[in-house]
Symmetry: D2
Subunit: 402 residues, 4 copies
């Protein structure tokens, strides 16, 4: 069917809005939807329809597709970073609508370069999924938890049978009354791994329900915790736990940030540590989520996982007159395969960073991406702290923003 036919069929009730791809190619289906939506709402959908890829390429990523959102993309760097998986300068594309963000991150990158680069490390790596089971009482709960602790090999076997890449690393049971939660943590190589973890966990759940009195209530019991602010992630990590740091000589602090190491350290303590403490926060940073969100959007990550990415702590101290600063992100969930990474602009963005597709060894591309993003976010922290310390946050927004 062509566009007109599709539109008519929907209007006549012969076809449902989400079924169009069964009767036409994907771009035609999208066009028909734009026509229908435009007619229904009066909206002009011209630019939404001007996307630069084949709609069918997005089949695994979206339903009811009728176009694309376009977000301006800028670039920061070179980011000079000594990591486990990356060495030397990388550029990082950031897609954002927040004026001044890229300029700010870039200023931090320049200072880091001038200071001979940052250091970054992936400290832990485990994508988690935590189903919840119902038991009769606390006696059964203990019985189930004990069984889980004593049979991790069997659980690993069941879980890993579902995947060629994933590996079960951690299994921890938690009991609350007649609820048993089991948190599974997987090594998922270059994939962010949420789906892999979900499918593997489903298999492991069968093993548990077969061997114990527990019955599965929900494949996710919120101890995962996916896309929710939760201390379990900020304490234990989820996805990659990554840290980056840099030591910036006093004169460079002064020339790049128009302030002193002491002023930045003070701003960090009063704002990021004491202020966050008083706020009841899980995030002790200035605006790490900004850089993470923009990098996630550009490189095809799951942007709802910016929530976990914000579980980050920034430190800043004066060392022998110079500035030492670090950013540690507890739960940075990134991948270079799967999800949105295959989409055209996203794949190109990953190529800019030099981490498109699976790495060699497996996992090294996602490690590298994590190290680069964390270093860029550290640059953003430095720059905003510098701006606050030299008192020109509002004026920066006045000049560069709306």
């Amino acid at each position: 069917m062509d566009t007109d036919a599709l539109v008519d069929a929907v209007r006549d009730g012969e076809l449902r809005f989400h079924e169009l791809e069964q009767h036409a190619d994907f771009d035609t289906a999208a066009e028909a939807r734009r026509r229908l939506v435009a007619a229904e709402t009066g909206a002009d959908l011209e630019t939404i329809g001007e996307y630069a890829f084949e709609a069918s390429e997005a089949e695994a990523n979206v339903e009811n597709m009728f176009g694309a959102a376009q977000v301006p993309m800028g670039i920061v760097g070179p980011i000079d970073v000594d990591g486990d998986a990356v060495e030397g300068a990388r550029r990082l594309p950031l897609a954002t609508t927040e004026g001044a963000l890229i300029a700010s991150v870039n200023r931090g990158c320049a200072a880091i370069r001038a200071a001979d680069g940052a250091t970054a490390r992936v400290l832990k790596n485990a994508m988690t999924r935590a189903p919840v089971f119902r038991v009769e009482n606390v006696a059964e709960a203990k019985e189930t938890a004990t069984w889980v602790r004593e049979n991790t090999d069997e659980l690993a076997e069941a879980a890993e049978a579902t995947t060629s890449h994933g590996e079960l690393r951690e299994v921890t049971p938690y009991v609350v009354g007649d609820n048993v939660f089991v948190r599974f943590g997987y090594e998922t190589r270059d994939a962010m791994g949420m789906n892999m973890a979900t499918i593997a966990t489903e298999a492991a759940c069968e093993t548990i329900t077969d061997a114990t009195p527990a019955e599965l209530v929900a494949l996710s019991g919120n101890l995962c915790a996916d896309k929710k602010p939760a201390a379990i992630n900020s304490v234990q990590g989820r996805g990659r736990t990554v840290a980056a740091d840099v030591e910036i000589p006093r004169d460079l602090v002064e020339s790049y940030f128009k302030t002193t190491p002491e002023a930045i350290a003070e701003a960090n303590t009063r704002k990021n540590l004491v202020g966050s403490a008083k706020a009841g926060a899980l995030g002790f940073n200035a605006h790490a989520a900004n850089t993470i969100a923009a990098a996630f959007l550009a490189t095809g990550q799951d942007i709802a996982q910016v929530v976990e990415g914000s579980n980050a702590i920034t430190t800043a101290d004066v060392r022998d007159g110079d500035l030492y600063a670090s950013l540690t992100i507890a739960s940075l969930e990134v991948g270079t395969v799967g999800g949105g990474t295959k989409l055209p602009t996203q794949a190109e963005a990953l190529d800019i960073v030099g981490v498109g597709g699976g790495g060699d060894p497996a996992g090294s591309n996602a490690d590298a991406l994590a190290e680069v993003i964390t270093t860029a976010a550290l640059a953003g922290e430095l720059s905003l702290l510098g701006a606050l310390a030299s008192n020109h946050l509002a004026s920066a927004h006045e000049e560069l923003g709306r």
Copy 2:
């Protein structure tokens, strides 16, 4: 200068990478950057360069622009909602790379429609900014806090002099040792309002530092709390606090979700309430951030603020055999003017919802958008809870996702 000239000038060190717009139109500057980045990294940047707007339109949103990220956009609805600012059916575009998300939200929307619609309300509205001041000791801290409490009119006058739309609603001082934090809350109408609040607060800070011994350390002291998971937001709200609910008859629960009200209520209690409690969470929901992130991306919101959007509580109970479910988002920060809302695809997306630009009365468009997004997120909650309760989360991803 043309593209070649720009590229050469950068290579020769005559021009810096971020200065190109001073010497050429914005699209030429972007093209030159693509050429430079492609040459440097070996990446092909074809689709990143095929954006559907004038680069100059994004001037206020990005620096170092070299193209755009394109994210497939689908649509959900009609969303049948009785709100304060919206009445009846609206469509909501969602930009996402997460397969199954739109289908899932849409299933929830269908159930809500069948149940004669949801109810939604904006319960509170205050965009906050909280600077931190340094004082000599706790005596001065009390003196400063007391002055702030007793001079809110003067602070309002100073703050409101900077804005034609904003209104100062709340001023609360918090003391920690020699730190005084002052949380300002503004009514910002149809703007998300972060920049308005920052600029107004800067003016108010001068009033404080003039009248008290306090010295400003940072214009943001993290009690705002912007883009960080923080209890102060989940308790007191930030931006809009919005709730939506629906009562779904048992037969519709069974037909739409293949499960029972009891099973959904149980899954909600064990997962969203008890599980989140055990996880040390600030978010007691299934995946509200998914819907919020996709709607934010489509409609030009600040996607890093998905962090605050995830401060949401889902409830589900059996009422006379039927299902009652609600979603309350403590801190949903949305606008229909400013930020990314003027960008072409984003403006079109807002038009689909029927909330483009300033509302009449002022603030009503952002209210309506908040009510629609919250209802869509409620639909997503219902659908995921239904899937979990009927045990097919993993298989849904297997079919629709990667």
Copy 3:
């Protein structure tokens, strides 16, 4: 009846264990219980029976009384503090079983004295109670919340009619789906005020249920939040919010703590700020709860409220080579009338501090007690930080403890 008769009557099933006071004086009833319990369990209850007061004096504090717990009481001070309600040196009794605690606090007190004293301030004062109401849906929830916001005078009238001392200061509604929570905050003078607040709130609830569609579900809805760790208290305060600080010259830091201001500041940042941040804490201090618990026990406070007392932040910084340190307790709930304050040893302990009974003006005794306890807890913070910084925590316990 005499002891024998009571014992026999219980054994014969003629009298129930908790009814003895209806048939004998309170001390005889207690003795009979000791006999019964000793016989049942084989325990020797000699010292439990050797309490130093009339059992009838404890009538309002305990049921099924059969004796008393005796906890050794030491004393710290003089505590040199410049507060709003206290000026100069006070002694503070601490009842504890933790060896080294009193010596530790006392060392801090000595350093504070040598440094010419600490400063303390009560920054806020509001005992809270927060009932939860059920409504039909979010529309009713908004209606109810709005009514509450607009009728605080009527609520104050209802609440204050139940009390001669209390005054309603704050009323804030919070909505979650079909739940409306209303947090009432009272000035309760020299009483800790939990019961006063509960009774006054019960009256205010009737006003709400009369005027709105809301139905009361529970007089406490856990936004109070009494005896639970909760961010709402650490952010907004409960009972008294109190801060104390001191500046200690470098030479005194060295002589009293065998370490430097820099080492104490570093230990505080890494442990109390960064460590607590990583732990997902609401308490950013070293061991404030120790001092608070011991003071609460000695002076007749509600020891379960040590939970809220631990919502405290310690800061320590180097100022011109000297040490500045502060402790801010968000929610310190103390009284000098009511509760356990009238019991003999407790009343004597309050007399030692000079704050027994109601103050003049009303509230000043409880303010003074709060300032003294906070300063003592600051002393404890200094001492433990000093011990950690000079690396002898374990050895202190080895020498003084078990």
Copy 4:
């Protein structure tokens, strides 16, 4: 020296206030202090001086002793509980000044007995201590964390060399920038174990600083987390993680609590789950801290650890018309040897429970105490929920309290 001589010596500056035990027996020293304090403050210290034990017995528990605090002690039970370490009925003494508490807990115990008893289980047992180390940068941090993970045997050897009872069970490193925290978890048998853990950890720290570039900053880095509200404890547990539950037939709910299973379940959901969620809480219970505090005080536990005890979740559901309720305490720190357990009234109280001294097998007495306290706290939860559900919380306090 006799009392007069001591008093004179202190007044003449020949002896310091804390040195008296070096020149007289402990009771004489205490008497001299009372004389000095009474003279200084004008307070009458008669009952404080009438303690029922030898002052020397408290030598390890207190310094500057001058008497004792006496808190009325009541008793609850029989507590009918089927645990791992306890079977059948136990009495539990509670020392409290909160009127109505014992009556309330006792009512719950009666209902539990009528329902044929509760079930209780110790789910985990690990006393933790977490030092913080300073490293040069994140590379060294990773190196140190990796060394720790790979050398747990060596760490166990060092730690266990310091103790005859303790056993190192868990060692987990956490990195934040240039901070490395290592959380050690010990099996400590019948001891609460904080000192044992501290001493053992000090030894393990030497092993770490010898083998890695890390330097010890503080033996406690607040990831322990001792006496602070912290998610790491509520998630992972500290001391014993204990759960108790009971199923109470509908008719017994009605007769004991004058309400229905549905009303109790509703109150629990709205208050303990949703209310606590909105409050940003780590404690999702009604008043577990009350029972825990009173039991801790009676049995010689560390009352500042009530803070961790309040990390508890209560659930209540209707099962086939009856009430199922549970209480799970994440971090209950108890011992039957060491600390305050040897003091006379405390030892007698432990004997009442039948858990005085070391258990056979080792650890079973502390397990039993944990199971009994948790069941009593569950009884308290049931009773307060029942009171709230039947709307008479305020009136209960009016009748029984002040």
